[in-house]
Subunit: 282 residues, 2 copies
């Protein structure tokens, strides 16, 4: 397994792979890998001749007061895990390699798709995501790039960016991977104290409640939303950032639960912000 | 010569050329081609196995009250000229192909490099340029892309964008091509009435004056600038937009004329805005 820390070396290697006629799959990550990431890697391994994984905690997508400094990192363990998955190349650049002094180029998707949900509480977040993902696409030259459904809004935003800027690649979404008790895997789960982890289960439980209500015929978004909010607020250590029932395509608000529906929520559990979501075809 | 009007067909063809191991040269244009464009095409023909030329009058880079509607177009003549140059593919998309309803993704280089010179009088212009050029790069997949030195600031901005977003390609600048009397070729010269064309010569004459003064040892930007302004204002139909003496690398202001120096100017001649520049190593 090759490990690259310089973008120009990674890019040169990617160009060589393309010249040799290989298809490249890229799994962009911020490291501290869990089974969610590895499920994307396995999927890429099946689909593509070459699998590259990027590990980069991107300062541009963290806001002031967010957890950039504390974000967990363990590059040694990450590389061991990726080697076992048969990954061909890891790209793990420094911040200064990615952002030279005077860096001032940005890629941005504007409008409702980035203004709502996480975009509302994390201004600039998706601009940071789109900018770094554009760079990673140009450096690693994937035919397919893999993103987790866990970050549902990110997937919608990146798909829009890829379509509108004509990136020559396909975005593949992998399903959210969960612990046995329902907690969606996230590198940020490592922040949770035991009693907070217990409260964190309420995210998937609220989604389960929504699914049940919809299965039983409820189609009024506000009724389902109110039930979710009530459940979440009944648990200690919780503070709702948002609970939204919206179109899975463009995240626009729904007046009735039908079609491709995304139910997404973000909840502060103690000092840790967790997100989860459910995509339904109703 | 292939002529593509759909971005997905052009992209598919570009991918095939890359797979076949061909190097692609792209000359992005807004059409109504003149010898300036053709000099870039000839250069690309020498450098690359495949030459593609895009023809697209990009609404995103025109401001309110600018000449988007009047911008001259002659796609038939353009294609004849390009066929004679041995071009392999012309990409001439419709506006709706390039910008679907709800389009909201932009690429932007911020900071002094886009705030000064043309950026000051044409807000949003370079954002429109960077966005369309990013799309064209993804659609046509060039190894090299060719831009005229005539649009000096555009070249600096695009080189910065390519470097900072890691586009896997090289920007090549071609020298400004001029009429025998010094007028820099531009599709917009077609707007000029005979007496305006005469006044338009003052742009290259002012640059000639600057070069003479610098050759004779003048190194104070304000002295050279004042002489240029005086010359321009002595001619009828002229209204200066800017006359700037700045760093050729990042367009920052200079306190002394030394190093890579860009002397750039924009002058309104009647209703027509003309630009010209001179890049010097002092």
């Amino acid at each position: 397994m090759k490990i690259f820390s310089k973008s120009h070396e990674m890019q040169e290697w990617s160009i060589q792979q393309k010249r040799a006629g290989k298809t490249i799959g890229l799994v962009p990550t911020m490291g501290f890998l869990h089974e969610g990431h590895l499920s994307l890697v396995k999927r890429a391994r099946t689909d593509c001749q070459i699998v590259a994984v990027s590990i980069f905690v991107n300062p541009l997508q963290f806001g002031v007061g967010e957890d950039f400094d504390e974000y967990p990192r363990d590059i040694t363990r990450d590389c061991e895990l990726l080697e076992k998955e048969g990954v061909d190349a890891v790209f793990s650049p420094s911040i200064s390699d990615m952002y030279n002094p005077g860096f001032s180029t940005t890629v941005e998707v504007t409008g409702p798709v980035t203004e709502r949900l996480c975009g509302a509480s994390r201004p600039g977040h998706f601009k940071g995501v789109c900018t770094v993902v554009s760079k990673l696409f140009h450096i690693c030259l994937p035919d397919r790039a893999y993103f987790g459904q866990k970050d549902a809004q990110q997937a919608v935003v990146i798909e829009k960016m890829v379509r509108e800027l004509n990136f020559p690649l396909k975005i593949v979404r992998g399903p959210t991977v969960r612990e046995a008790d329902g907690l969606a895997l996230s590198s940020r789960n490592s922040y949770l104290k035991p009693e907070e982890r217990e409260s964190g289960l309420v995210l998937s439980q609220a989604l389960g409640l929504a699914r049940e209500m919809i299965d039983q015929g409820e189609n009024r978004p506000e009724i389902v939303r109110d039930a979710m909010v009530e459940l979440i607020e009944s648990r200690p250590h919780t503070k709702i950032d948002y609970v939204e029932i919206c179109s899975g395509e463009d995240l626009s608000p729904l007046t009735a639960i039908e079609g491709e529906v995304l139910i997404a929520l973000a909840v502060q559990i103690g000092a840790t912000r967790l997100i989860d979501n459910l995509l339904l075809e109703v």
